[in-house]
Symmetry: C7
C-alpha cells in the first residue's frame, strides 16, 4: 500500500477511486462505524434479536436518549453503530419508505425491499459529489411471511444478509464469538442469551441491564418489542453475566467523557 501523502490526495476529491481501485472516503466512513459502540443482530428460528451497547458519558445523561435501537415499522427493527446523527437520517428515511410502501401497495414493506431502498440511498452519497458518505452501519431485522430475516447495510451501500452479525467496536471479536456459538435452531430466548454473551465477551463478561438495549421481532406476532430492564436483568442473571455490585458502573465511560461524536 502507498504512504500517507497519497491517501490525502484521494480524500479531497470526496469519493474518487485510488489507483488500486479503492474509495477512501467510504473506507474512512467504515472507521467512523468502528468508533461507535457495538450492535449485534441474531436470527433465531422464531424471531430476530437486536442487542446494543448503550454506554453513556455521564450518569446524568438519560440512557433512553442514546438511540441505537429503532422501530422502523411494526415488524421491522433497526440497530445502528457509528455516527449517531447520520443514523437518524437513515432511520427517518427507512420509516418514510415503510409508510410509502404501506400506502402504495396496501401491505407491509418486505425487509429485503426496505434494506435495498436504504442501500441505494446510501450509494448515492458515495458516487455523486457535494456530500460525504454516511458514517453508520445498520442492522435491519424483521419478519416476512412468518420468516425472520436479518440484514446489514454498510457505508458503501452494499446490503448483506446474515444469520448473526456485529457492527461497530470490537466487531471482529464479537463475530468470532457468534460464529463459535451460533445455532440456527435456537429460539428467541436463546438468541437473546447468545447476543448478550457475545456482547459481554468483549466487556469482561459482565453487563449492567441499564448499559445495554435489547429488542426482538417475534416471528409469530410479527411485532417489534423492547425488553425492560427487569427482563434484561433476568437474562443476564441466568447467564451469569450480570455486573457485580462493586463494579464501577460508569468506569469506562469517564474515559471518553469529552469525545462526543459516537456512542
Amino acid at each position: 500500500m502507498q504512504g500517507q501523502n497519497q491517501q490525502q490526495a484521494y480524500d479531497r476529491g470526496i469519493t474518487i477511486f485510488s489507483p488500486d481501485g479503492r474509495l477512501y472516503q467510504v473506507e474512512y466512513a467504515r472507521e467512523a462505524v468502528k468508533r461507535g459502540t457495538a450492535s449485534i443482530g441474531v436470527r433465531t428460528s422464531d424471531g430476530v434479536v437486536l442487542a446494543v451497547d448503550k454506554r453513556i458519558r455521564s450518569p446524568l445523561m438519560e440512557r433512553s436518549s442514546v438511540e441505537k435501537i429503532h422501530k422502523a415499522d411494526d415488524h421491522i427493527g433497526i440497530a445502528s453503530a457509528g455516527h449517531v446523527a447520520d443514523a437518524r437520517q437513515l432511520i427517518d428515511f427507512a420509516r418514510r419508505q415503510a409508510q410509502v410502501n404501506q400506502l402504495r401497495y396496501g401491505e407491509p414493506v418486505g425487509v429485503e425491499t426496505l434494506t435495498k431502498e436504504i442501500t441505494d440511498y446510501i450509494q448515492q452519497y458515495t458516487q455523486v459529489g457535494g456530500a460525504r458518505p454516511f458514517g453508520v452501519a445498520l442492522i435491519i431485522g424483521g419478519i416476512v411471511d412468518g420468516e425472520p430475516r436479518l440484514y446489514e447495510t454498510d457505508p458503501s451501500g452494499t446490503p448483506y444478509e446474515w444469520k448473526a452479525l456485529a457492527v461497530g467496536a470490537d466487531r471482529g471479536d464479537i463475530r468470532d464469538y457468534l460464529e463459535a456459538n451460533y445455532d440456527a435452531e435456537m429460539d428467541l430466548d436463546a438468541g437473546i442469551d447468545l447476543a448478550l454473551a457475545a456482547l459481554a465477551s468483549v466487556n469482561d463478561d459482565e453487563l449492567a441491564p441499564e448499559g445495554i438495549g435489547v429488542a426482538t421481532i417475534d416471528a409469530e406476532t410479527e411485532t417489534f418489542g423492547v425488553l425492560s430492564d427487569d427482563e434484561k436483568e433476568t437474562h443476564l442473571a441466568e447467564a451469569d453475566l450480570l455486573e457485580s455490585d462493586d463494579g464501577d458502573e460508569d468506569g469506562d465511560e469517564a474515559e471518553d467523557a469529552d469525545d462526543e461524536t459516537e456512542e
Copy 2:
C-alpha cells in the same frame, strides 16, 4: 493521532471523513462551542432550570442584548453556548417549527420532537457541501404532559437527554459539580440553587446577579419564565454566592475586550 499537516487536508474539504473516521469540521465547531461562556440546564421534579453566564465586554454594553436564554414556545426554553449568530438561526428555526406544529396538529410541539427537528436540521450542515456546521450547542428544556424534559443538541446533530448538563466553557468542571450534587427529587428552587452553585464553582464561588441569566419552565403551569435581578440576588445571597462589593464586576471581562466572536 496524525500531525498538523494532515488535519489541514480534512478541513478544506468541509466535512469529509478523516482516515480514522472523524469529521474535523464538526469537532472544530465543538471548539467554537467551548469558546462560548457556559450554559447550564437542570431538570427537577417540578420543572426545568436554565442558567447562563452573561459576562459582557464593557459596562456600556446592555446585558439584555447578550442573548443566551430564549423562549421557543410557551412551554419550552432554550439556552445556548457558542457562536452567537449561529445560535440565532437555530432559535429562529425552533420557533418556526413550534408554530408549524401548533398549526398542523392543534397542540404544542413535544420537547423531544422539537429537539429532533433541530438536530436533523443541524445534521444537514455536516453532510452536504457548500456550508459549514453550526458552531453552537443548545440546551432545550420544556414540559410534556406535566413532565419536565431536558435535551442537548451538539454540532454533529446528535440529540441527548439529560438530568442536568453544562455546555460551553468549563463544561467538564461544571459537569463534575453537577454529577456530585444532583438530586432527582429536588424542586425548582433547589434546582436554581444547584445551577448557580455549579456556575459559581468555576467563578471563584461568586456571581453578580447582572452577570447571569436564569429561566425556569414550570411543570405545573407549563410556562417559561425569566428570573428578575432581585430574584437572582435572593438566590445568590441565600447560597452565599453573591459577589462581594469590592469585587471588580467586569474584571475578567476586560481581558477579552477585543475578542468579540463569542459571549
Copy 3:
C-alpha cells in the same frame, strides 16, 4: 495560536472552522472594519447621537460623498465603519426592510427588529459558501415608543445593544474614553459633546467641523436629523475641541492618499 501557514488553509475555504473553533474570514472582516475611520454612537436620556470621522483623501473630494451616516427610516439612523461598498448594501437592505415592515404592519419597524433582520442577513454570508462576509460594522440608533435604543452589528452577524460604543479605527481607545465619561442621565447636547470629545481624544483633541459628521435621533419627535457645519462648530468651540486655524486641515489625509479602500 498557530503560525502563518495554517491560517492560510482556513482562509481558502471561505468560512470554515479552524481547529480552535474560529472563523478566520469573519475575523479578517473585522480587520476590514478596523481599517475604516471611527464611528461612535451614544444613547442619552432624550435621544441617540451618531458621530463619525469623515476624513478625506484630498481637498478636492466632496466630504458629503463620504457616506458614513445614513437615514434608514424617519426614526432610525445608521453609522458605519469599514468597507464602504459593503456598507451601502446593508443600508439598502435596512431601508427595504423598514419599508416592508411599514407596509406589512402599518407601523414603523422596531429598532431591535430591524437590527436582527440585518444580522440574520449578515450571518448567511458567514455560513453558506460562494460569498465572503460583509466587511463592515453598523451602529443603529433609533426611537421605540419614545425610548432611545442603540445597537451594533458586527461581521459575524451578532447583534449587541449598547449605551455608547465605537467601531472602526481606535475603537479601543474611544471606548475607554466613553466608559470613563458616560452618564446615562445626560441629554442630547451632552451626548453630542461626549461623542465629539471621544472622537477628538484620538485626534490630538482637535476636530474640524467639516471633518466629522454628527446626527441625532430625537426621542420626542422620533426623527433623524443631521447637524450643520455651524452647529458642529458651535459644539466644538464650546468644548474647546475646534481645530486651530494654523492646523493643516488635511494633514493626516495625505498620508494614505493612495489607499482608497476605506474611508
Copy 4:
C-alpha cells in the same frame, strides 16, 4: 510511463486526460473491478451460461445475499464483478430500461440495445464532472430471436460482444482457460461444465456448490433460470471439481474478513 506524483494530478480532476491520453479514474475503476471475485459468461449453441464466485466473509453470512447474478428481464441475465453497490445501480437501470422498452415497443428489449443503453449511461459518469465512474463490469447474456448473445460493459462505457469471457479477479488466467477450451458448438450443459472448470482452474480445481452461482438463459424457452445447489453439485461431481470434504470451506474467506468493499 510517468511517476507517482503525476498520476495524482490527474486523479483529482475526476476524469480528465493525462498527457498520454489516458483517463486514470476510469483505469482505477477497472482496478475496483479486479478487486471483485470473478464472474464468467459462456455462449453456447443453445443458450448462455453465467457463473460467479460467491465467496463470503463468514459462515454466518447468507450466500444468497451476495448478489452477483441478476435477472434483468425474462430473457436476459446479468453477472457483475467489482463494487457491489455500484452494480446494484446499473442492474436497477437495466431493469427499468427493459420495462420502458417493453411498454414503448410492445416487445422485449434486444440484448445489444440494452447493453448500449447501459454503456451510454456509464459513459456519462466518465465525461461530465461531479461524479466518479462506476467501479463495476457487467456480463450481459440473453436471447434475441432464438440466438444466444453475450456482452460485456466496462467502466469506460464501452460495449463488447464475446463468445466467452471473464471479469474480476484472475480474469487473465480464466480467459486463457476459456480460449484454450471453448467450442462454439457445445450445448448448455457443456457450457456450464466449461464455466465451472474455468472458475475451478484458479481455485485449486475445486469448488463447493454453495460457493458459486450459476444461471442459464435458454435459447429455446428464452428464459433465465438459476441452478439449484443440487444441480451445481451434480455438475461439479461429473467434472471431478467437487470440493473434498476435508477442505476448509471458508479457508480463504477468513483472510479478507475485514475488507468488505468487494465480493
Copy 5:
C-alpha cells in the same frame, strides 16, 4: 505587510479577506485601472469637463475607436480608465439604467442616483463568487437642476464625489496638479484649460489635439458635447501646450505596441 507567497493564497479565492482585512482582487483590479491611460474630470461653475489621454498603438489605428469618453444620457457623460472591455459593460449598464429611469419616472436620472446604481452593480462582483471584479474606474459628470456634479466609481464599488479628479496612469501627479490649480469659480473654458494642463503636466507639457479627448456637460443647456480637433487645438495653443511639429507623434506609443490590454 506579508510576503509574496501569502498574497497568492488570497488571489485564488477570488474575493476573500486577507488577515489584515484587505480584498486583494479588488486591489489588483485597481492596478488594472492604473495600467490604463489617464482620464480627468473637472467641475466648474457652469459645467463639467472630461478629458482623456487617447494614445494609440499605431498610426493605422483609428483614434475614434479608442473609447474613453461616453455619453450616458443627454445630460451625463462618463470617462473611463482601465480594462476597456470591462468599461464597455459598465457604460452599457449605465445607459440602460438611464433609460429605465426615464421610462419609470418620466424624468432624467440624477447623476448621484446613476452613480450609485453603477457602484451597487460593481460591488456584487466583489462579494459573490464565480466572477472577478471590474478592472475599471469611471468618472461620471452631469447636471442636476442646473448644478454640475462630478463622481468617481472605483473597483470596490465605492462612489465618491469630487471637485476635480484623475484616474488611471499618473493619477497621483495629476491630482497634485489639480489640487494646486483648482478654482471652484472658474468657468468651463478655464476648466478645459486646467484639465489639459494637468494632462500635459505628465506628458512633457505637450499634447497633440488628436491624442486627447475632451467633452463638456454644460450646466445651462444640460447637454453633453465633444470638442472637435480644432477646438482642442485652439485650447492647447492658447495654453502653449500644443505639441511642436518635430515631435514624434506616436513616439511613446511604439513602446507598448504589443501590450494591447489597456488604452
Copy 6:
C-alpha cells in the same frame, strides 16, 4: 517548451490556456486518439471509402462488436479512432442531427452541415467547464448532390475536408503512404485497394479479412454499404495483401490484452 510541472498546472483547470496559448486537455485528447487503432478515409471519383483496423484482444471477442464504422444516415458513414465510449456519443449525436434535419427540411442533411454540427458540439466540451473534451476523431464520408465528400473532426472541434486521410495509430506513416499514392481520378475499387494497402503498409503488408472493416458510400446510389469478409478477402488477394496462413492471427493482440481502453 516548459517542463513537466507546469503542464500539470494547466491540466487541472480542465481546458484553460497555457502561457504559450495551448489547450493541454485538447492536446491530451489527441493522444487518446493516437492510442486507438487506425482508421482511413479515401475520396474517389465515384464514392468514399472508409477502412478501419479492427484488431481484437482475444479470439473469443466478437469482431462485429468492435464498432469503428457507423452508418449515420443512408448517404453518410462515419469511421472513428480513439476512446470508443466517446465515439458512441458523437455517433448518436450525428444520427439524431441527421434525423432532425430530415424532419425539419424534408431532405437529407449535407455532409458538411452535419460535420459542422458535430464540431460545434465538440467545441463546447473544450471551452465550458465541468466536462472533459471528447477523446475521439471521426472520419465522415458522404455524398452531396452526387459528389463524394470526406471530412475529419478532431478533439478541438475543428472540421477539415480531405481527399484522403488517416486518424489514430500510425497516422503519420499512413498519411505518407496516401500522399504518395493518391489519385483523384481513381474509382471506388481503386480507392478500396489504396485504403487497404495504406493500412497494410504499417502491418507488415499483410491483413486478414476479419481484422479489418471496409465500407463505401457510393456516389451514384448515394448509399452506405459494408463489405463482406469475402469481398474484403478478394480485394486483399488481388492486392497481394492477404495474411499468409501461418501468420499468428492474434499475435500482436495478445500484447495489449489488458489495456482495454482503446480498440
Copy 7:
C-alpha cells in the same frame, strides 16, 4: 515581472487579476492567436480587403476547408486568426446577430454595431467563471452608408477600428510593412496588392495562389466577394510575388504536420 511560479497561480483561477492588474488567461488567449497563421485587413477608398494565409498540413487536405474568411452578411466579411473551433463559434454568433438585426430593424446591421455585439459576447468569457476566453482574433470589414469600415476584436473583448491591420503570426512585422506602405487614397486593387505584399513580406516575398485567401467588400455594391485562384494569381504575378515553380509548395507545411490546433 514575477517568476514562473506566480503566473501559475493566476492561471488556475481562470480569469482573475494578477497583483499588477493583468488577466493572464486573456494574455494566454492572445498567444493562441499568435499561434495561428496571419490574417490581414486593409481599408481602401472604395472598399475593404481581407487577406489570409491558408497554409495546409498536407496536399491531401482541401484548402477550401481551411476556414479563415467568412461572410457574416451581404455587406460584412470576417477574417480570423487563432483557435479555429473558437472562431467558428464567434462567426456563428455574428451571423445570428446580423439576422436578428435585419429582422428587428428592417435594415442591415452596422459594422460597428456588430463588432460591439461580438466584443460584449467575448468579454463575458473573461469575467464570469466556468469557461475560458476565446482564443481567436477577428478582422471585421464592411460597408456602412457607402463607407468602408474595418474593425478588430481581441480575446479581451475590446473593439478597435483600423485603417489596416494584421492579426496572428508575424503580426508585428506585417504591421510594420502596412504602416510603411499604407495610403488612405488607394483603391481596392491597390489594397489587394498591399495586403498580398504585406503577407509575402514574411514569406520570402513569394506566395502561391492556392495558399492564400482574399476577399473584398465593395463600397459601391456593398457586397462581399471572394477572389478566384486566377484573380489571385493575376495579382501576385503583377506584383512579382508569385511563387516560382521549383518552390516546394508545402515545404513549411510539413514541419508542423502534427500540430493541428491552429491554422
